[in-house]
Symmetry: C2
Subunit: 348 residues, 2 copies
């Protein structure tokens, strides 16, 4: 049986109509489409064929047809006409990223929230740190008598800080000593190397002072770990409640996507561009009723993170895929500006 042109048009129309209405699509409705314009009976014959080929499902005998996962897949891979963003939509997204000096962490969290608002889906934004990234510099700044601010600057430009409150007074001498010590021991090592064992070993080298300085050493460890772990932000999880598909599963899905160890591996390892997982294609069985759209973004040349959408299988792919793509691109651009300035200025 050939998957001829009319079958393609009919499948397209079924997918699009079902996405729009949420109701199974019947032969009469389809026959009224200008790009189809054959009688309902003919449409029925074609639908029977598409059903045979696995592209359609039938909720029950006397209902219309609904796309199967295969049907969605065929639609997305070949039939769909992506709706390019209007200038207004582009301007809208551009405006979101028109921030002069963003805090990268907040930017990511805000992006997730904004993208959720923009798409009506739950979103996830995640960054990962390549294993070659090293500690570039550690600093310690006395804030008041017993408080210091610890800074860890990584070779990828990420800076993290932490307030440490100590049990003794910190003067410039102590700060200088510790700064030198910490830089000597940590700089140049990859973040990956800096394990609890590594830190214990460093601590021992402080000899009798190891107890006193322990909060700072632990602080450095925590900051390194924080940088290496990257970020994981969710946005608009409550959007799932607006879809009847999730009427009683919403809580389960909301909990699931909150867990980085569950969703992270799934979204973290995809080619560039937008990757789509439709329903049962998801490796997590709980997501068999959901579709997942993920897009990588990069800082300059370096692949650095993923931003994704989670919504019902019946989501508007033709609109959301280009949106997500554009959004990820813009996010990458802004992060690149933020992080690359330090080297970009070298020539000036």
């Amino acid at each position: 049986m050939r998957f001829d042109d009319r079958k393609k048009r009919i499948l397209s129309a079924i997918v699009e109509t079902y996405i729009r209405t949420g109701e199974p699509v019947g032969s009469k409705t389809l026959s009224e489409f200008p790009e189809i314009s054959v009688s309902p009976a003919t449409v029925r014959n074609e639908m029977a064929a598409l059903f045979e080929m696995g592209f359609l499902e039938q909720p029950h005998t006397s209902a219309g047809r609904v796309p199967s996962h295969l049907g969605y897949r065929a639609y997305i891979d070949g039939l769909m006409r992506a709706k390019p963003l209007t200038d207004d939509e582009k301007d809208g997204i551009d405006a979101l990223f028109n921030i002069s000096d963003p805090d990268p962490d907040k930017l990511l969290a805000d992006s997730a929230e904004t993208l959720a608002e923009y798409t009506g889906c739950a979103t996830v934004a995640m960054t990962t740190t390549p294993s070659y990234v090293t500690v570039e510099h550690i600093d310690i700044v006395p804030a008041d008598e017993t408080t210091v601010v610890l800074l860890v600057i990584a070779s990828n430009g990420v800076v993290k800080s932490k307030v440490c409150r100590l049990f003794f007074r910190v003067n410039t001498g102590i700060a200088d000593f510790f700064r030198k010590f910490a830089n000597d021991r940590f700089c140049g090592h990859t973040l990956k190397e800096i394990s609890a064992e590594f830190v214990s070993a460093v601590s021992i080298q402080l000899g009798e002072y190891s107890n006193v300085f322990n909060p700072l050493i632990v602080g450095i460890y925590e900051l390194c770990k924080e940088v290496y772990d990257g970020q994981y932000y969710l946005g608009g999880r409550e959007k799932l409640l607006t879809y009847n598909e999730y009427s009683d599963r919403a809580l389960e899905i909301m909990k699931l996507i909150s867990k980085r160890d569950k969703l992270g591996p799934v979204i973290g390892n995809n080619p560039s561009g937008v990757t789509v997982f439709i329903g049962k294609e998801n490796s997590l069985s709980q997501l068999s009723g959901s579709s997942l759209l993920v897009a990588r973004f990069s800082i300059g040349e370096n692949d650095c993170g993923t931003i994704g959408l989670i919504g019902p299988v019946r989501m508007d792919y033709s609109r959301l895929i280009p949106h997500l793509e554009y959004f990820a691109e813009k996010l990458g651009t802004l992060l690149s500006i933020t992080y690359q300035r330090k080297t970009g200025d070298d020539n000036g």
Copy 2:
């Protein structure tokens, strides 16, 4: 009509049974309670009286009775026997707060999440900064050639930092100059004073350098604002989905409580101890189906924040009120240790 002892016992039993089962409570059920032990007919007479007095409501003629808001209020204010925490429960909460050197912001966010997990309610945690808090110290630390870390330390011990990426190379001289300038202009001023206008005025004093240093001045402004605004964290909003009461209102409530400008004023201005708003007592009409429990916590002597529970009116007050109280107390204690060490060590 007297609100005599037996009426009180019956009202108590109705509230407690209804909280437990979610079903209207009938006379037969009540007559079997040992503390009531009169016939169903007598109970019915008493219930009719309690209904007259406004303590009960009746979903429909042939259903049992349900507490009215007045009924809950009477229960909470006079009849309820608070269930003190068991040692195990106390240990559980104590363990949550057994952290050596917490980041205050994370602590608050984690507390909200943990409290939600512990109580099954949505939670909110908020801090406010008294208007007398001043800027104590500003620091600027070069991180790499064009990146600096800005620090603002407030007189209440709060430290905030921000990474600023600049368009020029920062050497020690520039950093020293700006540090002195910023401390001269900002220190001693209350956070409240540091408005956009204030910052513009300061910026002008930099003369020809005002453009160059503007990102730093703006950074200081943002940090001051961040400290002054305090924090607002939500936890476990999805818990609301577990109550049928919220079957179709969950989304609305989740959105509402996410808005600090809506919920903040309601929870931010209450006496110490646990304050309870039952259903329609809430000034926000959308919360008429919810109860709100709020508890203040303080750092040392200074009142500093609020932590609260949001759940269905039918919540287990006798358990949750003591829990929230203990939780707020512990949170305050840990924050006090964190913030007060700097002065507490002055005697040593």
